[in-house]
Symmetry: C2
Subunit: 430 residues, 2 copies
């Protein structure tokens, strides 16, 4: 049974604070191992990649077979069903359209003093995309990471994906081609992150690495940060569903379980002002669990981290939502738009009863790489801006320097930076 | 003498690679100390803050005096000269105007299928601003960090600044008030970062912490990341000046020294196609060093990390600029605009001979918090977007769910996520 909280209960503030503070992640201490792997790749390049792939993925490679060839991708596409390829194509088109609208504009202006100033956005020159192997190898994640990079104008996208015992996921390769990935290497783990960050004979280094991975991959990304950019380190997934008496309990239950089936430490929370709905949802979850293939995972998540929170009014739920700052927020109430406008902290919002979160995972258009673990308080989902950077531009002429110079000189001297002051003064013969 | 590189030299690629790889930062291992300080603040709150401030800043505080009062800020303003206050006011106005243009737009649209989708930007609910004490306590940095937060609409900005032996920097307090900082606490170091991240009786926690600091502050920021957001960890400052025979060697020398005076590990590089200019600049640097108050620091930086690179043509300099990805790039050439358009990687660009970088440090308008250590390859200077986050919004109706649903079901099943597929199918009676 998931925990039940009642906002009218005197112990609620304490119980809610405990829910907020609950750690769902055990951080494995793999940092020493990861450091050694990175050092080896820096020192021995391709040879180290080949050794580690042999050891960890049971796969014998040569420098010539590190990269996956076009013929293999052709063959992989051939293995996908037409339905799957059509779904992937629809998803790609919708993700692309959504993200195109995110392309930022440059800005240049000349002000009254004659100072020309503004900024320019440029694409990051090269991006590495990590794709996990095995179970968590999701073609949808390939699209969600690669399409925004492509829309940003990144000239080179290199993907790495481990292929244990040589097994590839055909739909992952098809998604990579569809998204415009330029190079694919059959390597994974910390060694793949090291290759992307520092380069080897076969793998040219990139400027930024994105994509999810296991504890080794996360630790390697943290370690190479600075040498290259990285995206956020994603934690276990979560959903918060805000629903009223108009909601269909079977649908709500299905959405909670869709989240819970990801991971035993995923979190699904229902917040409602209707005790009858809460009971009905709880019963529906138990019923639907009977036939769910991933019942064991989903059941554990629901039991250990699930929660049902009763509130007096839906408005009273908003501060709770903001404090939880959920990765995914479904609002299935009569006044969904109105409540939506009041929320500050959420990674993505799904409005109304016909928008199950799974639509957003695949074909809605918005990105499914979203801030977890309450980080929606201060960060955003993946987007085009993550693959671009802004350069500010400033240009004075003699007159505008004369107008601004004295203030710069005054502040430079206030800060004890006489050299700063002089670099201005020398141009003004001061 | 700084090192001289000549791009026509056969050994140049090797020498340039060495320049790129040079580490200018020694990372102090303060992580264990920082961890202990954070744990103490979490456990003992205000009491721990008071103890550490006593020990590290030689200052006896009580819970009642942790915060700097309005009367003290009034008094501080009274200590500033009218010139300084006027310069600060001009700087604030220009920074505000520049950053206002960065406010992002929300985007909502309904597509041909009837799906309503887009995103919404919201300000981060509370931000903490770290301001170093002593020498590096810069009023300009207060403006550069607080003004964009204010422009973003952050409802609460809390500042921390150590005041060793009770000494405050009046202009820092004046800048804080001018920028709209809501609360100022006289605490610093890892203990101040811990207070902002976790809260104490006197310091309400914030959602994101920005601002520069020493090794303890940087380590504390890294450690609390996740609990709160943080900005980039700034490294030593650097400038690259691209100049041709039209440039004034005395002005170039002054700009190189303005950078070098920051820190013995700051870096100032001149790239030119004119050997005579290179010689003249080198001589001018030596001359100007004679009278520079911070000659010792600037001289050490120029000797140990300075460089002059001769190139055959200015165009040939562009790939070198992109690889160095300088924090500050001055282009003082006849065709400055043209060269500017070709650069991909730079934090900020200063165009023409009347735009010394120091103008950008204070009163230009663009932000002076910029990516260092080659991170301009993948990141941007501080801006309004750093104080906001984007929430994606998606809304299907029954018809659009019917149109998109089958593709989502197909992809969910391909990924082995039957629960995802069912959350869609249940709504379509499939």
């Amino acid at each position: 049974m998931p925990q039940r909280l009642d906002a009218r209960d005197p112990s609620f503030p304490h119980a809610f604070a405990r829910l907020l503070a609950a750690k769902r992640e055990v951080s494995e201490d793999v940092d020493q191992a990861v450091r050694a792997i990175i050092d080896e790749v820096v020192a021995r390049g391709d040879e180290a990649l080949i050794d580690y792939t042999n050891r960890f993925d049971n796969l014998a490679l040569t420098a010539g077979t590190l990269r996956i060839g076009d013929d293999e991708i052709d063959a992989a596409e051939g293995e996908c069903s037409p339905d799957e390829l059509a779904a992937l194509t629809l998803a790609k088109a919708r993700i692309e359209t959504y993200h195109r609208a995110q392309r930022p504009e440059d800005h240049m202006t000349t002000d009254a003093l004659g100072v020309t100033l503004g900024w320019r956005w440029t694409a990051i020159e090269s991006v590495g995309l990590y794709v996990p192997g095995g179970r968590a190898s999701y073609p949808s994640s390939v699209l969600m990471n690669a399409v925004p990079a492509k829309v940003a104008g990144v000239p080179r996208i290199a993907m790495v994906v481990p292929t244990p015992r040589g097994e590839t996921n055909p739909l992952v390769l098809a998604a990579a081609r569809l998204a415009g990935v330029d190079e694919i290497f059959r390597i994974g783990g910390a060694q793949a992150i090291a290759a992307l960050a520092f380069g080897t004979s076969s793998v040219q280094p990139v400027a930024k690495i994105v994509g999810p991975g296991n504890a080794y991959v996360a630790a390697a990304k943290r370690r190479v940060f600075g040498q290259v950019g990285i995206d956020m380190i994603a934690g276990p997934s979560e959903v918060l569903i805000l629903a009223d008496r108009h909601a269909n309990p079977d649908w709500i239950a299905a959405d909670l379980l869709a989240q819970a089936e990801h991971d035993p430490v995923a979190q699904a929370i229902l917040v409602t002002d209707d005790a009858a709905l809460a009971d009905a949802v709880e019963a529906a979850v138990q019923r639907q669990l009977q036939t769910l293939p991933k019942a064991e995972i989903a059941g554990a998540s629901w039991r250990d981290y699930g929660a049902i929170i009763l509130v007096e009014t839906l408005d009273a739920a908003i501060p709770l939502v903001d404090r939880l700052a959920p990765e995914h927020l479904e609002i299935e109430t009569a006044n969904a738009d109105e409540l939506c406008a009041k929320v500050r902290n959420a990674g993505a919002i799904f409005l109304g009863s016909h928008t199950p979160e799974a639509i957003g995972d695949y074909v809605g258009g918005p990105n499914h790489v979203l801030p977890t673990a309450r980080s929606a308080r201060f960060s955003s989902g993946l987007g085009v801006l993550d693959f671009m950077k802004r350069t500010s531009i400033l240009k004075c002429d003699a007159d505008s320097l004369r107008a601004l110079g004295p203030a710069a000189i005054a502040l430079g001297r206030s800060e004890g930076l006489e050299g700063h002051a002089r670099s201005v003064a020398i141009r003004l013969n001061m």
